[in-house]
Symmetry: C2
Subunit: 390 residues, 2 copies
């Protein structure tokens, strides 16, 4: 007499959240220092000063805690629009911006807004597991397409997956979990394919660009997809770049050049309403107005990446060196069926790749204090030895 699908979603939790909760128990049992929790993308870089300064500055403002317009306060939306206009050269205004509870609700609203009925949403595997939950909640079907060996886009495979039902391609660059950044020429090739397919099927096939790691890169250039493809919707979160994961603030930016741009924007606002969003947390809208374009000190993630990549590869594990985000996506050692149990014995929490849509990998979130990575090294060595890697 309940919604069994919702019950299952609540009882199973995501693999990431499951490990995150398990880690809390394990820490209580063994002591914080004996657990190496690489499960969740909870940013370790301190919140930049501008954030807490903004909160402290505005906390006593009259009306600061009041409802804003559903799409967000004009000053916050203007700050976001100015950033995108400057970045892309496109005529983006506050009326293209809808503030959300982080990227999760941005994606949920967009997926619901573009579902004209039984739509297919293409993404590439490995992918962020909640895409499946959000797409299915919107009444759609997630279609996962493989990538090349180095996790770069297989444009031919995407082209082959497009059907008359395809409403969008979901991209995530820098990528969670693979850590790669899509180069401009790959995006241009994809754009050319989608333009042709849109024409063929007589409907816009949108690119939904999920960009929470946009500023977290190690030299690679992140292309502004709006400049490459007109039918683009950007979903952004301040969770990672301002280390505000728990505060739930992000946005949707609808390209002014997208097909039916104004109607699409209205549909996003309507979807937010249908999903029970009222307005993004109001004091964090002030933070957005004050801090747009700033980031936490993300150099710490570069240090962490180099350190954990070094430890992992020295132990004999195989992985591609990430160019962005703060995840390492590593091949599971072959012939070691108990790999994840061995990791847990050593206090190492690594996320199995199955929920990312591929087999035989594990994900390490290295957005942790650097000394946790340092102290984990001998434990990774034990795991490697037990699995016959060394």
């Amino acid at each position: 007499m309940l919604n069994e699908k919702m019950r299952a979603l609540g009882e199973t939790r995501s693999a990431i959240r499951e490990l995150f909760e398990f880690g809390k128990l394990l820490k209580a049992e063994r002591g914080e220092e004996n657990v190496f929790d690489f499960s969740i993308g909870n940013p370790s870089a301190p919140v930049p000063d501008c954030v807490n300064e903004s909160i402290t500055k505005h906390v006593s403002d009259e009306n600061v805690h009041n409802y804003t317009s559903a799409q967000g306060d004009p000053s916050a939306r203007k700050a976001v629009a100015d950033f995108h206009r400057k970045r892309s050269g496109l005529e983006i205004t506050a009326d293209n911006i809808y503030l959300t509870y982080g990227a999760a609700s941005a994606l949920s609203a967009v997926f619901l807004a573009i579902n004209a009925g039984n739509c297919e949403y293409i993404t590439v595997a490995p992918y962020f597991p909640e895409y499946r939950v959000f797409v299915e909640s919107a009444g759609g079907k997630l279609v996962a397409v493989g990538v090349k060996e180095d996790f770069s886009l297989d444009v031919d495979a995407i082209a082959a997956a497009v059907t008359a039902k395809t409403c969008c391609v979901i991209l995530n660059s820098p990528n969670n979990p693979a850590g790669n950044v899509y180069p401009k020429n790959d995006l241009q090739a994809l754009a050319a394919v989608l333009k042709e397919k849109s024409r063929k099927y007589g409907r816009p096939i949108y690119i939904v660009s999920d960009e929470p790691y946009r500023e977290i890169t190690y030299g690679a250039e992140v292309t502004d997809i709006m400049t490459v493809y007109d039918d683009t919707i950007v979903c952004y979160s301040f969770s990672k770049t301002l280390s505000l994961a728990g505060e739930r603030i992000g946005y949707v930016a609808v390209s002014p050049k997208a097909a039916f741009s104004a109607s699409l924007y209205a549909a996003v606002c309507g979807a937010g309403r249908a999903l029970g969003y009222v307005c993004a947390p109001s004091i964090f809208q002030r933070v957005v107005a004050d801090c747009m374009g700033k980031t936490a000190d993300i150099t710490i993630y570069l240090k962490n990446r180099d350190l954990i990549y070094d430890i992992i590869t020295r132990c004999g594990f195989e992985c591609v060196k990430p160019e962005g985000a703060f995840y390492l996506f590593v091949k599971c050692p072959t012939g070691c069926p108990d790999f994840f149990d061995i990791c847990k014995e050593e206090g190492i929490l690594a996320v199995p790749s199955e929920s990312f849509g591929v087999n035989g990998y594990f994900r390490l979130s290295y957005c942790v204090p650097t000394e946790v990575i340092e102290r984990s090294a001998p434990h990774f060595e034990v795991v490697a030895k037990k699995c016959g890697l060394k």
Copy 2:
């Protein structure tokens, strides 16, 4: 090629939001002092000191802005559970509490969680308009039942509306828009009916109690529905009592005595996940832990109620004196088809009752600065005269 239902929701907006936005434009045009905006329930009582003290105290805490568990941080959930346990005498623990983005997302998650397929959700008219949006988004059907002349529950009418498809009855006491509080004996009569109907149809018919105005009363006692009926789910928001409407913080409390209580709780968590909620804003979870049970100085609303009730009735309008919340629900003068236009001419923004599911009334939100009410008096008099009331 879009979701037309979402586009319509985005383009039409709620009547309340529509007026709220219109009011902003009118203020810009005529000057703030010439507009009497009674459209939206944006609390005017200052945020209590405990809130900003809590924010200021925690803003620099390590990890304060990080993800919490999806259902909310244990300390915040414990504070809410302690409050409910003390109030009801029931064995309510943190595991019965799910923190949300205010009441809107609490209701949305609950409605989705209890929809076993094509369910009917009974409520009484007049009702909060977004109930329809949230119920339909959950795939259900809203069934509105009339009330008695004084807005009290018509238990026989509710009983007659129950079918094999009924999954819940949505109550809202103190009521928006009518301002009345349901006395205990009416709730007991309803409980008896629902218990019998649940037995008859072999399924629990839940009471979903929407309680954002629980503490805002003028003498009337608000019954704890969990003590009257086992199959109860409470949806609460701190928006009104802590004057935090824009920050989006509230909760779901599932009665431990409800049928399938643990599964129901899991389904609520699962629904939250499906709707793109990740966790309630983390710093406001600290505020909940610090301020649970406290309220803003709500005596201001009593003063406002008496003042506006006096003005309105002196002008010849008919209405029931509210016992709680901060709305006056007034009969439109008969024989005055241009009533709302006349109001707007006088700078008075009143919400027509159609979206509340009844005809021939208007709602005034008196959670505004007292002097706005004072200054509105001559304008109400002009409206009354133009409509032939005096």
